[in-house]
């Protein structure tokens, strides 16, 4: 094995209140494509930013090409041969392609920029990437994929030893990805060490040679891609002892898997071929009344995108959605709310609660918006609403006039829930409602979801924690790489099986869900299974039978 070109040892970085990286080591070899894997908050981007000089490290050492380095900024890292192409193409749409490649290093003659030499040099670089575009054209006039390749051209012009590609494929289509991979391979063959970060497991397995897995700011391990099974990778990323999880999942799951098949809940909403370009491939989904549907998938798998389309936040560009028997086009959240569909965002602070308002104001907000601003809710009614939800959801402090800013995360989440419950939704879409809140509040919210479903409300529940999904959901919908890959009854479903589905969609040989047909979206098998195995929300919560006990 050759010497690593980058060797980061025992790196620690802290932000106020958080240890973002804790004693993480990471190395990259020339002529290899390496990937950093990890869920949200694992520390991937922090590690990348440490390597690109954006963040200063608190402790540890970085050795590049045998030389210990300490970067003072992105420019220093670039000078050391570390080039980065960021997820959102950080180029200048208003300047020419040639300028975007060479800005800051333009060839000059007598103090003037030599435009002709610049275009020639840019053309050479683009040629090296097999890209036939006019270097004099405006960057903004090209597609995102081309812009991405231009960014790579810029990066390799710096004589890069290390090329970092942060989510380069998130907005590319299959052909464009193939083109990008061709460029990556040829760069790799010329001896560049490439760090390829992506949420797409298929792409990771196609292009990378080596993987480093992080979790919660700690190093899980470094593996050769070919030696690591997908299921093991996902397990390492999510990082639960599977056997233990299994138990919890089985014990806590409250839906009755057996004997309830007879009364399938009435259909409330049905999506057919619903999709949105670049967000999620067309999917079919049936949501029954009083049914809790868990969406499982890695970050970036399309789980939030699916929820946003159902909630009317993003417009679908294909397919139909039928709600309560009537076809409906949801163009705005307002339309969704008027149909009693509520979407509670995963971004609690940015898209959820309003910091500077009181608990009461936050709770009545959606209801007020639905009534129209010219029919204010009487003060007394507001007070009643707030008080009743504060009691029902056990919001602390129990003071309707407290500023939401001062509440804990869990209580903020409850306020947000109260806001949506106030409009009496028929379908409640909860995107990561339990993320970052304490265990007590988490349990309360889970209980609430359960009770709501019992009373006939349909719930779409997203969580990165699989055991939570298994505990609550009657049906689990699995997403991978922006596609709905499985729609299965949560009937003795195990975390193992779910992990396998998340990892590569093929369950049969991984074991775990013998009778749950994990099929590609829309396949007859999956639909059929939905049709005849019906969880019943109205039956009493009963402990789930052991996994062997199935029809």
């Amino acid at each position: 094995m050759t010497e690593p070109v980058v060797e980061m040892s025992a790196i620690s970085i802290s932000f106020p209140g958080v240890k973002a990286l804790d004693d993480v080591s990471f190395r990259m070899f020339p002529g290899e494509v390496h990937s950093l894997m990890g869920e949200n908050g694992a520390g991937k981007s922090t590690l990348i930013k440490a390597l690109t000089g954006v963040y200063q490290i608190d402790s540890g050492t970085i050795v590049v090409d045998g030389q210990p380095v300490s970067f003072t900024g992105p420019a220093a890292a670039q000078a050391a041969g570390i080039a980065t192409v960021y997820q959102e193409v950080n180029l200048l749409p208003n300047l020419s392609v040639a300028e975007n490649i060479l800005l800051g290093r333009e060839p000059r003659r007598f103090g003037s920029i030599d435009g002709r030499a610049m275009r020639r040099r840019a053309a050479e670089l683009l040629d090296g990437l097999n890209l036939d575009i006019d270097p004099g054209s405006l960057l903004g006039s090209h597609s995102l994929a081309i812009q991405q390749l231009v960014a790579i051209a810029r990066a390799i012009n710096v004589d890069a030893k290390v090329l970092i590609l942060d989510e380069p494929t998130s907005s590319l289509d299959a052909d464009e990805v193939a083109e990008l991979f061709r460029v990556i391979r040829s760069l790799r063959d010329s001896g560049v060490a490439i760090l390829f970060v992506s949420h797409f497991l298929d792409q990771i397995y196609e292009i990378t040679d080596r993987l480093t897995v992080l979790r919660n700011g700690r190093l899980v391990g470094e593996y050769l891609t070919e030696e690591l099974l997908r299921i093991d990778l996902v397990q390492k990323m999510i990082g639960k002892e599977l056997t233990v999880l299994d138990e919890i999942g089985r014990k806590a799951h409250s839906a009755d898997g057996d004997g309830a098949a007879a009364d399938r809940p009435a259909e409330y909403a049905r999506a057919e071929g619903l999709g949105r370009k670049g967000a999620i491939e067309p999917f079919d989904l049936v949501i029954g009344e009083g049914e809790v549907i868990g969406l499982a998938g890695l970050l970036g798998s399309g789980r939030t995108e699916l929820a946003r389309i159902l909630g009317g936040i993003d417009r679908a560009d294909s397919g139909t959605l039928t709600v309560g028997g009537a076809g409906s086009k949801l163009r705005t959240p307002r339309q969704a709310i008027s149909r009693r569909i509520a979407y509670s965002s995963e971004d609690r602070r940015g898209e959820g609660i309003i910091d500077e308002l009181t608990v009461r104001d936050n709770i009545v907000l959606a209801l007020q918006a639905d009534r129209g601003w010219f029919r204010p809710i009487p003060k007394k009614r507001q007070e009643e609403l707030a008080q009743s939800y504060i009691q029902a959801l056990n919001i602390r402090p129990a003071n309707p006039d407290a500023l939401v800013r001062n509440l804990s995360g869990g209580n903020q989440q409850k306020v947000l829930l109260a806001r949506w419950l106030a409009i009496a939704p028929r379908l409640l879409i909860l995107d990561e409602p339990t993320r970052g809140i304490d265990i007590g509040a988490k349990a309360e919210i889970q209980k609430l979801v359960y009770t709501l479903a019992e009373n006939g409300m349909s719930v779409v529940f997203i969580s990165a924690e699989l055991e939570e999904v298994l505990r609550l959901a009657h049906r689990v919908v699995v997403l991978r790489d922006r596609r709905l890959v499985a729609d299965i009854e949560n009937d003795g479903l195990t975390v193992d099986a779910l992990l396998a589905l998340i990892a590569d969609g093929s369950v049969a040989e991984e074991g775990g869900v013998p009778d749950a047909p994990a099929a590609v979206s829309g396949s007859g098998a999956a639909r059929a299974s939905v049709a005849d195995t019906r969880p019943d929300a109205d039956t009493d919560p009963a402990p789930l039978e052991t996994s062997g006990d199935r029809r």
Binding site: P74, A75, Q78, T84, Y86, N90, L91, L92, P93, N94, L95, E99, L103, G104, E106, R108, G111, S112, I113, G115, E124, L125, D127, G128, L129, N130, L131, D132, I133, D134, L138, G140, S141, H142, S143, A145, I146, R154, I156, N157, V158, D159, A160, D175, E176, A178, E179, R182, V183, R185, S186, L187, D189, S190, G191, V192
Partner: protein, 348 residues
């Protein structure tokens, strides 16, 4: 990574090779016109010619070279102001202080010349002072992250206030060099002539075209307007450039003030009120996007000429009050801003 270029190409040909099919001239024309880069400028150029022709058809004696040259003579200071403003607006900023700085420059010139200072000292002094004021504004914007609008508004009040500190009344300039510069006409043959101010203004324009188009500083100005964040990540000297554009604008305001005092031969605290808005209007009509990143100095010059020609037409009309100029400019601005919105929206 020179190795990449020399390496034999093993890769398959581009699956989606973005070829350039032969284009019809109509397509190309449409492309140019809808490009946020050149579209608005071309529209302005067409507009200028059209207005000039309308004037020529309507009024006797409008179609003379001297009428055209007088557009430069009467607006030389505004051209210089618009050049400085172009730098600022290209970065996505704004400079509201320029009108007040023009007034301050005329006051400094008039009062110092009155006390017997030599123009050879007074003029450089003004340019240095206004550049320093620009530097302070730039630092305020950069270091304290003050909105350019607010920072330059503060500078505007400061400069205007300083005018009154110097004198409440108009001070006339009788210094021989200034008077000479004011009345000198440079003959161009055929009975045409321009003033030295025009020469200075055009020199400023040429330098500005070179700086913006062909120097790293100039391209960084555009880069900041395109995306400050990207520019920073690309390793460009964003902070320094942002400060310098305000220095440039300050310098141009000082120079414009000097030219203005050649033109009026006096210093008056209330002079050039609202000129900053004329300069901004000229820059916007000249096709520079207020959000920065797109635009040309020559466009701004065209913008000034459009304002000038409207003014001239209203003078020729004779019966219209000069306030009609403002109404036309207002309408024109509105049209241009909407045009820019449409053009940029198409591109997104």
């Amino acid at each position: 990574m020179t190795a990449t270029i020399d390496r034999p190409r093993t890769g398959a040909p581009l699956p989606t090779k973005p070829g350039r099919p032969p284009r019809r001239p109509v397509d190309r024309l449409r492309d140019v016109l809808t490009s946020p880069k050149s579209g608005p400028v071309l529209v302005t150029a067409v507009l200028f010619v059209a207005v000039f022709i309308v004037g020529g058809v309507r009024y006797n004696g409008f179609f003379s070279g001297q009428v055209l040259l007088n557009l430069f003579v009467d607006n030389s200071y505004l051209i210089v102001l618009a050049v400085g403003m172009t730098f600022v607006i290209l970065t996505g900023g704004i400079d509201l202080s320029v009108g007040a700085v023009v007034a301050l420059s005329t006051m400094i010139a008039a009062s110092l010349l009155q006390t017997g200072w030599s123009p050879g000292i007074v003029i450089p002094l003004i340019l240095v002072l206004t550049s320093v004021l620009g530097l302070l504004v730039g630092l305020m914007i950069h270091v304290f992250k003050v909105q350019p609008f607010i920072a330059t508004l503060a500078a505007m009040f400061l400069a205007r206030g300083l005018c009154y500190v110097i004198s409440k009344d108009s001070i006339s300039i009788t210094e021989p060099t200034f008077v000479a510069l004011a009345v000198t006409r440079i003959p161009l043959g055929g009975g045409l002539s321009i003033t030295p101010s025009v020469v200075i203004a055009l020199a400023v324009v040429i330098v500005a075209v070179w700086v913006l188009g062909f120097t790293r500083f100039g391209r960084t100005v555009y880069a900041i307007g395109g995306s400050e964040q990207s520019g920073m990540l690309m390793g460009l000297p964003v902070a320094r450039t942002k400060v310098i554009v305000y220095v440039v604008s300050g310098f141009c305001s000082g120079l414009a003030g000097v030219l203005f005092s050649f033109y009026t031969l006096s210093g008056y605290p209330l002079t050039a009120v609202g000129t900053e808005l004329d300069a901004i209007a000229a820059v916007v009509i000249g096709g520079t996007l207020l959000t920065g990143g797109y635009g040309f100095v020559l466009g701004s010059v065209l913008g000034v000429l459009v304002l000038g020609v409207i003014q001239t037409i209203i003078t020729f009309e004779g019966t219209l009050s000069s306030w009609w100029t403002k109404i036309f400019i207002g309408a024109l601005l509105l049209v241009f801003i909407i045009l820019q919105k449409v053009l940029t929206a198409r591109r997104r």
